[in-house]
């Protein structure tokens, strides 16, 4: 990619530099927000996925700072994946997206991605969803669609706000089936 798409690599590196140099890193000290305990204690008022994620990383590393750093690292990494996917379509689009993401990071998005809340996983998941979709647009592999569907379901296990999100792929599948059956109907009529 770096040889065939040098601008894509440059844009990705520029974004990485801005993310590493940006604000927010100093605040990563493992401090709990008012909502954190609800997730970590598997409160009945919360969805389970973030608690599972954070407690697993904590069990492995013994530090909530590690959870925060891992989340930010994940957010930056999948942001770069989206930039790379976009650069395969157009360097201009990749540059605009990278600039937009860097701007939002300055407004505190990256700090939210590092917080001990469901957003810490939700924002990277959104970027993974985008990257997978762009990858699918490029390659049209069915397996990517399956991964996308799983990801969309996983979003509902993270935040109740995402409860309607699985409706979108269902609506698409229904629409595809309708248009396909309609086309097959037209072919049958023509044959007759």
């Amino acid at each position: 990619m770096s040889v065939r798409h040098p601008w894509g690599a440059i844009i990705a590196l520029a974004y990485l530099g801005s993310a590493l140099a940006g604000p927010g890193w100093a605040a990563l000290d493992g401090t709990f927000s008012p909502d954190t305990s609800g997730y970590l204690d598997f409160s009945p008022d919360r969805q389970p996925m973030y608690g599972l994620w954070a407690t697993t990383i904590f069990a492995l590393t013994g530090s909530f700072c590690a959870v925060e750093f891992l989340q930010i690292g994940l957010f930056i990494a999948v942001g770069i994946w989206v930039i790379v996917e976009l650069s395969l379509i157009s360097d201009v689009a990749a540059a605009i997206f990278a600039a937009g993401l860097a701007g939002l990071n300055r407004f505190g998005l990256i700090a939210l991605a590092g917080s001990l809340n469901s957003e810490g996983l939700f924002y990277p998941m959104i970027l993974v969803m985008v990257a997978l979709f762009l990858w699918w647009l490029r390659t049209r592999r069915t397996g990517i669609l399956a991964a996308l569907a799983l990801l969309v379901v996983a979003m509902t296990q993270l935040r109740t706000a995402a409860m309607l999100v699985p409706m979108l792929p269902l609506a698409i599948v229904a629409y595809m089936l309708i248009t396909r059956s309609r086309r097959q109907g037209v072919i049958v009529l023509r044959l007759l």
């Binding site: 389970p48 157009s90 939002l104 957003e119 509902t156």
Partner: protein, 284 residues
């Protein structure tokens, strides 16, 4: 799994009452409630009066401040004690452990059922605010919201001064010119992307209907807008445009718009972008 279900669709405990009760903030107060809680009726009257000159985006932010105050203060301390004939201390403790969530749900649902046109109008405003990042409103709007918040009955804020750090970010201060410029650019870009997504959705729908191959850029931006809408509907119905929701929408809208632009540039440069699902006999 620690009291959780495998693939649970919503939280184990029904938190609808906790979430929904604050949405009665700007609804007219029914006679029965006014009779049982004159304090609430007085405060709610001042909220509606202060909200009258606000536009849709300003209303969402004004309501945000009220909703948080009701959720953590006025709901368990003023409204529930009056309607349930209990002491304020008892309902406050019971609110923290979820005991009164079912009562709050019943009260909110009945109230919303009576005043559903106002509730739907407010929900539509919140949905629009969610999709257009209402929390990035400009200084003029912010100052109008700040003025309105200062017009409400002082008992709304209890003994403490009104919070200016959450949910509204430093609402008492005007924005720097550079921040205002960026906020405006973001909000207008969102509105343009929404319209682009709607038009693209129609194009993709028609292309599928007539058995043609969909433009990938159109599909990307239409799906981005679709995702934002389905993500914003529950929040629009239950809460308000909070920054954690709007950032999620921004990420998706920005990605959809960038993909659309990318495929457009590719089409202009190469005389046609690669079709999306262009295997023979496959549409969409």
């Amino acid at each position: 799994m620690l009291g959780k279900n495998f693939l649970q669709y919503s939280t184990i405990r029904d938190t609808t009452g906790f979430v929904l009760l604050p949405r009665v903030s700007l609804l007219p107060v029914p006679q029965t409630v006014a009779a049982q809680s004159p304090d609430w009726a007085l405060m709610a009257s001042s909220w509606r009066k202060a909200a009258a000159p606000l536009n849709a985006v300003e209303l969402t932010q004004f309501d945000a401040q009220l909703q948080e105050e009701i959720r953590y203060g006025l709901g368990p301390k003023v409204l529930l004690p009056a309607l349930l004939n209990l002491s304020s201390d008892k309902t406050t403790v019971g609110w923290q452990d979820g005991t009164y969530y079912p009562d709050a749900r019943r009260i909110a649902v009945e109230w919303i059922g009576r005043e559903w046109p106002t509730y739907l109008r407010m929900s539509a405003y919140h949905l629009w605010g969610m999709l257009t990042v209402a929390n990035f409103m400009d200084t003029v709007d912010r100052m109008k919201v700040w003025a309105a918040l200062n017009e409400v009955s002082p008992s709304t804020w209890g003994e403490k001064p009104m919070r200016t750090d959450y949910p509204l970010n430093q609402i008492d201060k005007p924005l720097k010119w550079s921040t205002e410029l960026i906020y405006r650019a973001i909000r207008y870009a969102c509105i343009m992307t929404l319209f682009l997504g709607l038009i693209s959705a129609i194009i993709v729908f028609l292309q599928g209907f007539y058995g043609r191959i969909a433009y990938p850029g159109c599909l990307a931006v239409a799906l981005a807008v679709g995702w934002c809408v389905v993500h914003s509907i529950p929040a629009g119905m239950l809460v308000y445009p909070e920054f954690r929701y709007t950032y999620a929408n921004l990420l998706v809208l920005m990605s959809g718009a960038a993909a659309w632009l990318g495929y457009l540039i590719g089409r202009l440069h190469h005389g046609g972008s690669r079709p999306l699902i262009n295997s023979p006999g496959t549409t969409f």
